[in-house]
């Protein structure tokens, strides 16, 4: 029983990471309508920046902010220098550009940090476990879920409650109208991409003490985030959050039964949802 | 004289978009061999009615009958194969394909009933090619046979649109504003063409220029805000008070 409870908590934490990743993808998809194949690389950038900042003595909170900022800046450059210049050309070229960019980022990380990968011990405050009476709850998992939730709430506040957010939202829902209002749509797309990329970086930073990192570890995350996005429904910005948590918990519980196949379960769930013919849990299409 | 048989029938057909009921309980009968025109101001639901009849949109309520058989649940390609051909108001010819290929695709489907070969080159299908050239010639479009549709004038694309629809060998022809965007002269050409095929097909045509249709139509239906407000002979409809207030704002 406690094992199940522990796995649920574990799943919530991992699921929150999926949700943060997928929400980033969802924003980028909504604004630019491209699947960001560099999302995994941006996740890795976040992880490594978090690692570097921590090793030079920065507080963990600063390291996490740095992870977000670094990936956001990389994302900003990707959009400004790349996607924006390909806007008029084939969709496939934009996707290939992201594919090439992902390779360049990953290999650059290998050049800088080597192939072995890195890991990080969480700060003392977040190490160890809290005694809940019936089980021990690793503090870092709680932190992970909490920061993920905070990040999601922050994005929600940004999009729903601020002026720039309402423009991003309008850009997702009715692009023509935004253009009519004379808003600089190019700037909006750049900021949106940077925000989405930043979330991938943040997820990478949070995941570092949990999962470690190497240059290509983001790709598994990205694939899962794609699945989460499909399950959440593409029409819905926040469906990804619920789907992410559900997937995290399901995967975590599956490790009790078949540890090796737990990642596979994610894809089985996806296939099942497709078979039922659903349009995702919350989406329109 | 015996009443002509009803070929296509809408029974209480309804379509909603969110809270708006765009087609609201429309019941109409389209009789064999007649030219039936649907009139109405913009937003009356005419094109949506077509989209329901061809199943481009799913139906929210009511039934569609084709020769008395219920076809409401069929897919759009199945409806097409049962002999309902349709031209679009916004030209939807394949712009990247040649005139020949556009018509060929339609003629090939008419000939094969929807099965698709995967080996022989399309030019090797002699009878289909012959038929395609013949249809192009009927519309005076043979000079453009090997030109990409995107490369010719809008008027000729409109004509191609109708030619393609005709090449599917339909029994019912749904023409959505066939003269929209055409010059006076081109409009006249289309009108003459419609007159020339009148009687050979069951034609349902959407128009909003009343003068274009009154003298050539057998039946006229007027729609407004998703509903049929009058239906009958052109003279009868023209005299209808409801039509005059809705349509002419009198």
């Amino acid at each position: 029983m406690t094992l199940v409870a522990a796995q649920i908590v574990n799943g919530l934490a991992i699921g929150m990471l999926y949700a943060v990743m997928a929400l980033g993808l969802s924003i980028i998809k909504g604004l630019l309508n491209v699947p960001n194949f560099a999302h995994g690389a941006l996740f890795a950038v976040g992880a490594y920046v978090c690692y570097t900042l921590s090793t030079i003595g920065a507080p963990f909170a600063v390291a996490l902010l740095g992870a977000f900022a670094a990936s956001a800046i990389v994302g900003l450059l990707i959009e400004r220098l790349g996607i924006a210049n390909l806007a008029g050309s084939s969709y496939l070229l934009q996707v290939l550009f992201l594919f090439g960019t992902a390779l360049v980022i990953e290999q650059s990380l290998v050049l800088i940090y080597g192939t072995t990968g890195v890991s990080l011990v969480p700060p003392a405050l977040l190490s160890g476990a809290a005694n809940l009476g019936f089980m021990f709850l690793p503090r870092y998992l709680m932190f992970c879920a909490l920061v993920g939730a905070l990040a999601i709430v922050a994005v929600w506040l940004l999009i729903e409650k601020t002026k720039i957010g309402s423009r991003i939202r309008a850009g997702i829902e009715r692009r023509e109208m935004v253009q009519c209002l004379g808003i600089d749509i190019g700037m909006l797309l750049t900021l949106g991409f940077a925000l989405g990329a930043g979330m991938a970086g943040l997820a990478g930073g949070i995941a570092l003490p949990l999962l470690g990192a190497n240059a290509t570890s983001g790709n598994d995350m990205m694939a899962i985030a794609f699945v989460v996005l499909v399950l959440g429904g593409l029409g819905s910005l926040y469906g990804a959050v619920v789907a992410g948590i559900l997937i995290g918990v399901a995967q975590s519980l599956a490790t009790l039964v078949a540890p090796a196949a737990s990642t596979l379960l994610i894809y089985v769930i996806m296939t099942a949802v497709l078979l039922v013919g659903s349009k995702g849990l919350f989406g329109e299409r | 004289m015996a009443e002509p048989a009803v070929l296509l029938e809408a029974v209480d057909l309804t379509k909603r978009f969110g809270k708006n009921t765009v087609v609201d309980g429309v019941s109409l009968k389209f009789a064999e061999g007649r030219l039936h025109t649907i009139l109405g101001p913009n937003g009356a639901g005419k094109t949506t009615l077509f989209n329901l009849l061809t199943k481009d949109y799913p139906v929210d309520g009511g039934e569609i009958l084709l020769r008395g058989e219920r076809v409401t649940r069929l897919r759009p390609d199945q409806i097409s194969r049962r002999g309902v051909g349709r031209s679009y108001q916004i030209t939807s010819v394949l712009r990247e394909r040649t005139f020949f290929e556009n018509v060929w695709l339609a003629a090939y489907r008419a000939e094969r009933g929807g099965t698709v070969g995967l080996w022989r080159d399309i030019r090797a299908y002699r009878t289909t090619a012959e038929k395609s050239r013949q249809v192009l010639a009927e519309f005076g479009l043979q000079p453009f046979s090997d030109r990409k549709a995107a490369d010719v004038s809008y008027g000729d694309q409109r004509l191609l649109e109708i030619a393609v629809t005709l090449a599917t060998a339909p029994q019912v022809l749904l023409l959505d504003e066939p003269t929209s965007g055409l010059s006076q002269r081109e409009s006249e050409r289309v009108k003459q063409f419609i007159l020339s095929i009148k009687g050979k097909f069951t034609i349902v045509m959407i128009e909003h220029k009343m003068n274009v249709v009154m003298d050539i139509s057998d039946d006229v239906t007027v729609m407004n805000r998703g509903k049929v407000i009058a239906s009958g002979s052109p003279q009868h409809v023209a005299a209808d008070a409801a039509v005059r207030s809705a349509y002419f704002g009198l």
């Binding site: 290939l96 497709l274 | 390609d77 194969r81 394949l94 290929e101 489907r109 022989r120």
Partner: protein, 316 residues
């Protein structure tokens, strides 16, 4: 008539590629090029002709590779049955996955193909007792066939070359067939194609399965070539690579992907000799190509040809 001549000319060019390649480069590289070219042509049927942006074609290539590898080793089957199993397996897998996702469009389709590719990767990874997991599947031998010793590099190349030319002919026929035209029509305007009376999903699924079959064939030949299945054969990077080959070669004809595959295999060889981080150079190359050669290499050649024609015309 003119189009038939053009077809013959293109066929002659493909045969020339198959014959000349081992003369101008190491035969192993030439062999990899013609094997990967089959994969690229198959992918072009999906991406270029049908306009279905699949980022999961490696799962069919990989399925063919593993099925052939397994049939030849644990299965103890001969060459022909193993290859037939690989082809049928690629087609069947494409049929199952295609049936699930073919109605999804654009972005959705792309993500789902990617996700299924990743799923296939995990199946291979987890099922290591059969597939060898991360280490790949080793110990594959080339059985002799009809008295030919396939361990001879020249003989094996000849077999691959025949299959390569045959694949080209079949895929080009399909591209120019009614199915090809229906696919191109559906790519441009699915609604109009449907209203003409064609079932667009059925046509697309057919193309997806044909591409799966040829990807399976390419996978089987790849396995025979290296006597080994690396797990990379089924990874999403392989899917991305083949899309890249198709795009750099150009999607407008089946000859484009052949050139794309040639450039890819050759560059990969070159870059990997230069530097362990060759993938970095490769990524930069992709970005470079995306920004400079939007119509693929085919367009480059066409532009050069046009330039020459203009020059010849001006010289009178």
């Amino acid at each position: 008539m003119a189009s038939i001549n053009k077809n013959l000319l293109a066929l002659a060019a493909v045969v020339l590629v198959a014959v000349a390649a081992p003369l101008v480069m190491p035969i192993s590289i030439a062999n990899e090029i013609i094997v990967i070219a089959i994969f690229a042509m198959a992918t072009n049927l999906v991406i270029g002709v049908a306009g279905l942006y699949s980022f999961g074609q490696a799962m069919f290539f990989g399925a063919g590779a593993y099925l052939a590898g397994y049939s030849l080793t644990a299965g103890g089957l001969g060459l022909v049955p193993s290859m037939l199993i690989a082809i049928a397996g690629g087609a069947a897998l494409a049929g199952i996955i295609g049936a699930l996702i073919i109605r999804r469009t654009g972005f959705y389709f792309m993500m789902l193909t990617f996700a299924f590719n990743q799923m296939a990767f995990y199946v291979v990874l987890v099922w290591s007792g059969v597939t060898g997991g991360e280490d790949g599947m080793a110990g594959i031998k080339r059985p002799a066939i009809a008295g030919f010793n396939l361990d001879d590099r020249g003989t094996f190349y000849a077999v691959c070359a025949v299959l390569f030319v045959a694949s080209y002919i079949v895929l080009r026929q399909i591209k120019n067939s009614p199915l090809g035209l229906v696919l191109e029509a559906a790519k441009e305007n699915p609604r109009r194609t449907t209203s003409l009376g064609y079932s667009v999903p059925a046509a697309q699924l057919t193309a997806f399965m044909i591409a799966g079959a040829f990807a399976g064939l390419a996978g089987a030949l790849y396995v025979l070539l290296y006597r080994f299945v690396p797990i990379d054969a089924i990874s999403w990077v392989m899917s991305g690579n083949v899309v890249f080959m198709v795009v750099i070669g150009g999607t407008s004809s089946m000859f484009g992907p052949i050139m794309g595959a040639a450039v890819f295999v050759w560059l990969q060889g070159l870059f990997s000799l230069l530097w362990a981080q060759w993938a970095l150079l490769f990524g930069l190359f992709i970005i470079f190509v995306v920004f400079t050669l939007r119509g693929g290499l085919i367009e480059l050649f066409e532009r050069l040809a046009r330039l020459r024609r203009v020059r010849e015309a001006s010289h009178g």
